[in-house]
Symmetry: C2
């Protein structure tokens, strides 16, 4: 069996998130859509393992996934075949053969998400950014971000009702910057961590937005972390502004 | 009667162009959609006059249109009411009262279109740029652009079968530049003229793209203009990369 790793970008607007789900959905899932295309192409049953799920409406510029196959098609043929079968809102950017033990989900070392905020109510940004009509206090947001850096119990930032035992994660980077774009000025938030609890990225962004709007102050962050209770953090930021930007892996030697 | 001028941005992806059309269309038109919203809001029959049509799939960041009304709603109320009734892919950016004689179509002094080319096959750029897999020779394209500047008979660049008598137009600006964007590098072509023949902007872009790909050379431009025959120019560039960016008007004194 060959083990093949894909780097995938997708516009999440028209999908019910990454993960294949049981029952009938209004929209398809990214995983299910790519699995179906792979099965048509390779004429065998395929199980695609993603680095993790992304929610409905969340985008990716570099999601990583792998699958095993007996097919003798070349990597180039598989990539071209897939891109031919898939709608243009999912693109296979890269393909490579990896050792049999590589697993896109379990070998993750860190993930980076990007969040885009716009101050313009533009038709072109509607599905791709979170619209914020008021100006944001970026220095205050950066102070708050600093308090989130490093290793913490992020219970307050995970979706209510989650039952994960170990909610300690380590945020390696959390930057906030302005970017001049063709269609108006944007604010980009980038967050890298060794792992994310369910909705953690969007709950952190929602809390930072409240700091930017003066509804919270930077020193609230430590208190929120200490409470270990979802109700003290800010609201979940909209999915449409979020992009899975990079997945880093441990060296393969470390997996085996 | 009040005369009201709107500045409108729209994502043309899901519309059959600007102009209201007879018969049943698969998709609506921008003009028809805004007229319907205005009629619901103002409770009277409304005729919306645009600066000109845009084709199916073409976008606008600042289309201009005007309409007359007996309504006593304030400008702010009309703008907010319209944006509330319209889908997010059409936005009223600006509204103002104008003298009764102002006509969005006949008072045009110049129009500017922007065309966006991407070298990345990205799901996020699919409906908003023209994808070009090969690198383009920008210096050659700029030389060709220079030959198009100024007053010429643009018969060779108008859609075949057009029966306009006066096909002389004046191109005031034609710039080609690279732009680093969040999702990859883009090439922006900006073209300003006192008027555009049917499909002239896209036929000029299509010809410049052929120059950029080495299929034509800059000195071919003069020959193409001289032929006054559509078949000598390049193909029509895809609609989805084109944006109506600005409409300039003659001073109102000059209209009356």
């Amino acid at each position: 069996m060959r083990n093949i790793r894909l780097t995938i970008s997708y516009d999440g607007t028209n999908y019910s998130g990454w993960q294949r789900q049981k029952g009938s959905l209004e929209k398809g899932t990214i995983q299910g859509t790519i699995e179906e295309a792979l099965e048509r192409l390779l004429q065998e049953k395929v199980k695609l393992i993603g680095s993790g799920r992304t929610d409905s409406g969340v985008h990716a510029t570099a999601q990583v996934a792998n699958f095993k196959t007996k097919s003798s098609l070349s990597l180039r043929e598989i990539r071209r075949g897939l891109n031919g079968l898939l709608d243009k809102d999912i693109r296979i950017k890269n393909i490579k053969g990896v050792p049999e033990k590589f697993n896109s989900r379990y070998a993750v070392c860190s993930k980076t998400y990007q969040y885009i905020i716009s101050h313009q109510d533009s038709p072109f940004l509607e599905h791709y950014t979170c619209f914020c009509p008021t100006q944001l206090d970026l220095p205050a947001m950066r102070k708050a971000a600093k308090a989130l850096l490093g290793k913490h119990d992020f219970s307050s930032f995970q979706a209510a009702g989650s039952r994960i035992k170990d909610s300690v994660r380590s945020i390696k980077k959390l930057s906030i910057r302005k970017k001049k774009a063709i269609l108006g000025n944007l604010i980009l938030i980038e967050i890298e961590a060794d792992g994310f609890l369910y909705k953690m990225a969007r709950n952190i962004i929602g809390t930072l937005l409240e700091v930017g709007q003066g509804k919270k102050v930077p020193r609230d962050i430590k208190k929120i972390l200490d409470k270990k209770n979802r109700k003290f953090a800010g609201p979940t930021a909209p999915a449409k502004g979020l992009y899975l930007k990079e997945v880093k892996y441990r060296r393969l030697g470390a997996i085996s």
